[in-house]
Amino acid sequence: MSEPLLQAIDLECERDERLLFQNLSFSILPGTVTRVEGPNGTGKTTLLRILAGLNDAWSGQLLWCGEPRARQRESFLRNTLYIGHRPGIKPLLTPVENLKALMAGRREVSDEVLVQALAGTGLAGFENVPCRNLSAGQQRRVALARLLIADEPLWLLDEVFTAIDADGVRAIESLLQQRAAEGGAVLVTTHHELQLPGMKRITLGAGGVHEC
């Protein structure tokens, strides 16, 4: 029932001659929201990129559903949604085209569903406007529209609330909470104070920057 989706054991990462973290162990269970905390430069984004499978410069163990992640890369990738702080939106394409391209390698989604998802992020009427004509916050919302149709059990969200207005932040908070209630697992980094009951925390850089 509550077997961890992703489990990190003794994770260690060194970047540019600096030890970011060491002996970091945690489990991400279904039905939880976990927030990665820490001051600037303590490796929050790096940790998320390691968990997503983008950064290889780490040592330790990462288990996906109890087995080493490297051995079941495709299953891991298919079941994980990562949205980075560069959200993967092409300025020359329209929101619908962008979403279609981003989902293309995973599953087929009809245009109506995409339009609905975009409407859910407050972008109704902008479906066919090239993204470069949208504001930063609106572009961010295009990327976040994936959350409304995502079937991946694990979400890794890096700085989701950047450039999103206050109402949007509240709506996304409740989306994350609802997702956890459904049994999905969410890992976020953010500087916003999240108001989620039962939220877990991973704190990086406790006691200042690790010095070696």
Binding site: P30, G31, A52, G53, L54, N55, D56, A57, C65, E74, S75, L77, R78, N79, T80, Y82, G84, H85, R86, P87, G88, I89, K90, P91, L92, L93, E97, K100, A101, L102, A104, G105, R106, R107, E108, P130, D151, E152, P153, A181, E182, G183, G184
Partner: protein, 241 residues
């Protein structure tokens, strides 16, 4: 808790097949390119201008141009492919689409192959189509032009394939453009030699089937091996960013 809505692990077998994923990557790159048509035109203009430099800078004599025309066109095509390579992954890297590409549950080398194929269709193929016009301008005869276009048709995909490795390796580096040229030009030499050599052999009346077959072998080798190298290089570059 509603047990039915609980997100279950999706088996990989139910996701989109690799061919469809490749098609999507290819279609997106072509679509983006056609939204910004000037970028498509730039390598072509560069190609024409470099060819123009030779009659102006060396000699407009018919004998010289006849003899060196194929070489001039090949060098110019090589340089303009090189010029366009910098963009192959850069925009995707900057806006984050590259991260999402790497995270697709698909074999990365196939996606890279699709991207490289799109690059060739958008830059290499137009060069091949433009080559006959420039061939006439440097006084090549009809047979030479035909052979030249054939060698370019086989050779430019090899340039794109090898170039993709360099573009992936230099992704996100300062002065990536110059570095890319330094890494890639030595690897382009065999294609250049056989491309121009075949035209020269044809001009002397020698049979060129063997040479064309050899270039075809280069192409097969590049298509089968270079996507793996590019994919590995992309992973390294992304890991570093």
């Amino acid at each position: 808790m509603n047990a039915d809505r609980r997100p279950a692990l999706k088996p990989v077998s139910e996701s989109v097949g690799p061919i469809a994923a490749m098609a999507a990557v290819f279609a997106r790159d072509v679509r983006v390119a056609f939204r910004q048509r000037q970028d498509l035109l730039n390598p072509l203009l560069f190609f024409i201008m470099v060819v123009t430099l030779f009659p102006l800078g060396v000699s407009p004599e018919v004998a010289f141009l006849k003899q060196s025309g194929a070489g001039i066109l090949w060098v110019a095509a090589l340089l303009s492919v090189l010029l366009s390579l910098d963009h192959l992954f850069r925009h995707d890297f900057d806006d984050g689409t590259l991260e999402q590409l790497v995270l697709q549950p698909q074999p990365l080398f196939l996606l890279v192959l699709a991207k490289t194929a799109a690059h060739w269709v958008l830059t290499g193929l137009p060069l091949v189509l433009l080559a006959p016009v420039l061939g006439v301008m440097v006084h090549l005869d009809g047979n030479s032009i035909a052979i030249l276009c054939l060698t370019l048709l086989i050779g430019t995909p090899v340039l794109s394939m090898i170039g993709a490795i360099g573009a992936a390796l230099t992704l996100g580096l300062r002065s990536a453009g110059v570095l890319l040229s330094l890494l890639i030009i030595p690897l382009y030499i065999p294609v250049l030699i056989f491309g121009t050599g075949t035209v020269a052999a044809a001009a002397e009346g020698a049979p060129v089937g063997g040479y064309l077959a050899l270039m075809g072998a280069f192409l097969v080798l590049a298509v089968t091996l270079s996507p793996f190298a590019s994919a590995a290089a992309l992973r390294i570059s992304l890991s570093n960013s």
